[in-house]
């Protein structure tokens, strides 16, 4: 037998060591569509609990929006359930091309190609266009999918200190002997909620003849005056060579991703990117709904405007209450607790208060940087946020962390 008792024991011991380290993750089962309020059963066998959801990427509240759901139903009737094919064989429908056109227009680029996910887009794009003659210079806090994608590529890799433009400039100077240089960054960083300085990055790219790649998954739809993304926020629309983003967050929350940018780069992805060539096409139901989402957000900014107001209220409320939060302007608001167990206990107590959040700790974030990452949504009403804020304050008082410094919290709870 290939799966021997010995092998089973080895894997079992590894699972036990994860549990003993206090970093074992458990799924909470949701018995409702995704929304600002959901029903959750946790732990298994307990009573269903109605809670306010503060940890979804449902930034525009479109994940269960009636118009989006209706468009999905119509898509099922109009174009079927699945394509049973990769794109280039018989997996491209008219609605796939329509979605790519809409994304191109929305993002202000030359062309767009869909992928089954942004994870797949990031896995495929670098290897499709770069060779060992090139270098990729990435911000140290880029998403894990970008790290994986870079590792699949034969180009040289280098990194720069998070958002440190002086350090990036040194690296660009160092690599002037390469055929090309690609600066790689998230637009909005998913754990800290800060924005990459794309204006400065574009300036350096022009000075040192480099391409710019941005994964804008936590920004597309709501960052920038009309929600185009981080590039709109910094006034550099049309100057980003590659944007990858997801349909799985603000843009409906189902699945799918894309590479959008210079037309030759997009066409090379169509010809060579392995996830595009070897993975199933996005199902018609998802594409139909995503097309509707693009229509909604292209016609009005009311959802991103409401999200912005919610974000301002939440950040101000937490700060005045005495929490340490990462500064910024995005709806990703990390409440810093530093100690892994504290973050888990805090999240558990908030759950009892009817607020659903999750503690983030090593290896998801660096050791000693545990937090609760709250995320705002346009689906949140003020009543949700006021209730959530009161719950945070109540639990914050219980653990005596309000108006305390980082050093005081670490002294009390350790790292």
């Amino acid at each position: 037998m290939a799966y021997s008792t010995e092998l089973r024991n080895i894997f079992q011991q590894e699972l036990e060591s994860i549990q003993q380290a206090g970093i074992f993750k458990e799924e909470r089962i949701i018995h409702a569509p995704q929304s600002s309020e959901i029903d959750v059963v946790f732990p298994a066998g307990s009573e269903k609990k109605h809670v306010i959801n503060m940890c979804a990427n449902n930034y525009l509240g479109l994940s269960s929006h009636p118009e989006v759901v209706k468009a999905a139903h119509e898509g099922l009737d109009y174009r079927g359930y699945g394509m049973s094919s990769v794109r280039f064989i018989c997996g491209t429908q008219d609605i796939h091309k329509e979605l790519e056109r809409k994304l191109t227009q929305f993002l202000g680029t030359e062309d767009t190609i869909l992928f089954p996910s942004c994870m797949d887009a990031n896995a495929g794009v670098f290897e499709a266009i770069l060779s060992e003659q090139d270098v990729m210079i990435a911000d140290r806090l880029v998403h894990a999918s970008i790290v994986d994608g870079m590792r699949l590529c034969k180009a040289q890799q280098d990194t720069f200190k998070h958002s440190d433009m002086d350090h990036l400039e040194k690296k660009l100077q160092l690599h002037q002997d390469k055929r090309s240089r690609m600066i790689i960054t998230d637009g909005a960083f998913s754990m800290d909620g800060d924005l990459a300085r794309l204006d400065k990055i574009v300036e350096l790219a022009e000075k040192y003849n480099a391409m710019v790649f941005v994964d804008d998954s936590h920004a597309t739809g709501f960052i920038g005056k009309t929600g185009r993304g981080t590039h709109e926020h910094f006034g550099v629309v049309g100057k980003i060579d590659i944007i990858t983003t997801t349909l799985g967050k603000a843009l409906g929350g189902a699945s799918g991703g894309c590479v959008s940018g210079r037309k030759e780069i997009v066409e090379l992805c169509r010809q060579k990117a392995r996830p595009y060539l070897f993975s199933n096409t996005i199902p018609p139901v998802v594409v139909a709904a995503a097309n509707k989402v693009l229509d909604i957000i292209s016609q009005t900014t009311e959802r991103r405007d409401k999200l912005e107001k919610n974000t301002q209220f939440w950040r101000k409320g937490l700060t005045e209450a005495g929490f340490i939060i990462k500064e910024g302007e995005t709806p990703i608001v990390p409440v810093m607790l530093f100690n892994a167990k504290l973050s888990q206990d805090f999240a558990r107590d908030l759950y009892h208060e009817g607020i659903y959040v999750v503690g983030f700790f090593f290896p998801v974030v660096p050791k000693g940087q545990a937090r609760i990452r709250t995320q705002l949504s346009a689906a949140h009403e003020m009543s949700h946020l006021e209730k959530a804020l009161n719950a945070f304050i109540k639990v914050g008082k219980k653990y005596d962390i309000l108006h305390k410094t980082k050093e005081e919290i670490i002294e009390k709870y350790g790292l």
Partner: protein, 83 residues
């Protein structure tokens, strides 16, 4: 050898620590397992060593263990004739 170790140590300080950091880096400080250098940004250290000493470190040898301290890195470089 001590000059080599000092060059490596100083590079780690400049490349991975913030200007106001009070983290001490000795020749034995655990760089990767200690969380000072993560397995992703370790590539920058590899680029530095390869560029400075004009060597190619195969991926199989550029492991987190081999890069986990200044002493370990110096030991790795010795295999390439760098002392």
């Amino acid at each position: 050898m001590s000059d080599l170790k000092e060059v490596i140590r100083q590079y780690v300080i400049d490349e991975y620590l913030e200007a106001d950091s009070d983290q001490e880096i000795t020749y034995d400080t655990k760089l990767i397992s200690g969380g000072i250098v993560d397995s992703f940004s370790m590539v920058s250290l590899k680029v530095f060593l390869e560029t400075k000493y004009k060597i190619q470190i195969p991926d199989a040898k550029a492991t987190p263990e081999a890069f986990d301290s200044v002493n370990n890195i110096a030991k790795l470089l010795k295999e390439f004739g760098i002392e």
